[in-house]
Amino acid sequence: MFTLLLGIGSFLAAFSPNGTDHDFKMSICEVIYEPSDRHFDVKIYLFTDDLTEALTGDPKAALPTREAISQYALQHVGLQVNGVQQTLQFSAIRQKEEQVLVQFTTPSLGNIQPATVAVWDNIMLEKFSGQTNMVYLIVPGKNKRTEALDAKRTSVEMKW
């Protein structure tokens, strides 16, 4: 019994753990090529509470306006195709369970065949140093590319 109490006591006394604090500071950026009209769709998934905290300082605040959210996303996410910076045009925002999905599209590439895609994504890093931003490049007929960006690496170039 002494040993049992010692074990319990030493653990409780040693520190106050927050042992369920899994690293849920994540976002997803899907970059999807649409060959039908040769443009890219960019879908950014952000946890609602993290987004409101980043924009208002309070994770429980009401969701900011569409304009505020899209502007925030555009300040932190960019796309280059074949070395040319793409203009991301806001298309939609919707909520998906605990996440907010912000959608952008690029203009048509015309006759240009995409050979390299570079994505930079440092969203939420100004607020959460442990933030991980997953980037998925989805091109029909090609293997899906997956990259995990963080504070140490905020951009990636992918070729196919």
Partner: protein, 198 residues
């Protein structure tokens, strides 16, 4: 390969993250009653936990099974507390019993059933990694592989420490069980209180 490495790395760090040790605490509490020499029982135990959490990880990862994350996060420390209490109050010394004795079978059942709950916890994290497009099967498999590697590492380190400490300090196994189970139960109670009052 890139996708496999990314997701298996995420799975590994999810279970082996010392900052978020609920799963880690459960595994060591589960293993507390065993000696290093009982490796067959440990292998079956770990396999039972793996089967349990893999089932619910896949079902939840595919959105077939949906359980509120707040409920899962509350149940996980409960599994640790219950395992700790079982170790201390009900478990008999298994060293003289066979691999499939009644007391040992209960351990396997606990590992399997509580594995279901931990799998849902893994799935909550996994779902936060996925978008709407593309298949989830390969990332799900890769993520689970990472969890298994992390689990094996935790068990290996735990028993290596057990062996070293037992030899160095001549700990009686009964005391080792009480101490580790006490740590597991105490830590889980703190996690539970934090979850309830946060």
């Amino acid at each position: 390969m890139n996708e496999f490495l990314t997701f298996s790395d995420l799975g590994f760090h999810h279970i082996a993250d010392p900052r978020a040790f609920d799963h880690l605490l459960f595994i060591i509490t589960l293993c507390a009653v065993y000696r290093v020499t009982e490796w067959r029982k440990i292998l079956i135990l770990v396999t039972a936990f793996t089967i349990g959490h893999s089932v619910t990880l896949v079902l939840s990862g595919l959105n077939i099974l949906k359980v509120p994350s707040s409920l899962v996060e509350t149940l996980i420390p409960v599994t640790i507390v219950l395992t700790s209490l079982y170790n201390v109050t009900l478990h008999k010394d298994s060293s003289t019993e066979g691999t499939f004795s009644k007391a040992v079978r209960w351990n396997y059942a606990i590992a399997l059933f509580f594995g279901f709950i931990h799998g849902m916890g893994f799935a909550n994290y996994f779902r936060s990694l996925m978008g709407e497009d593309g298949s989830v099967m390969w990332p799900l498999f890769s993520f689970n592989v990472g969890i298994e590697v992390g689990q094996l590492l935790i068990v290996s380190v735990f028993f290596a420490l057990h062996y070293a400490i037992e030899r160095m300090f001549r700990f009686a196994h009964r005391d080792w069980n009480l101490y580790v189970s006490g740590i597991g139960g105490g830590g889980a109670l703190v996690l539970l209180m934090q979850g309830i009052f946060s």
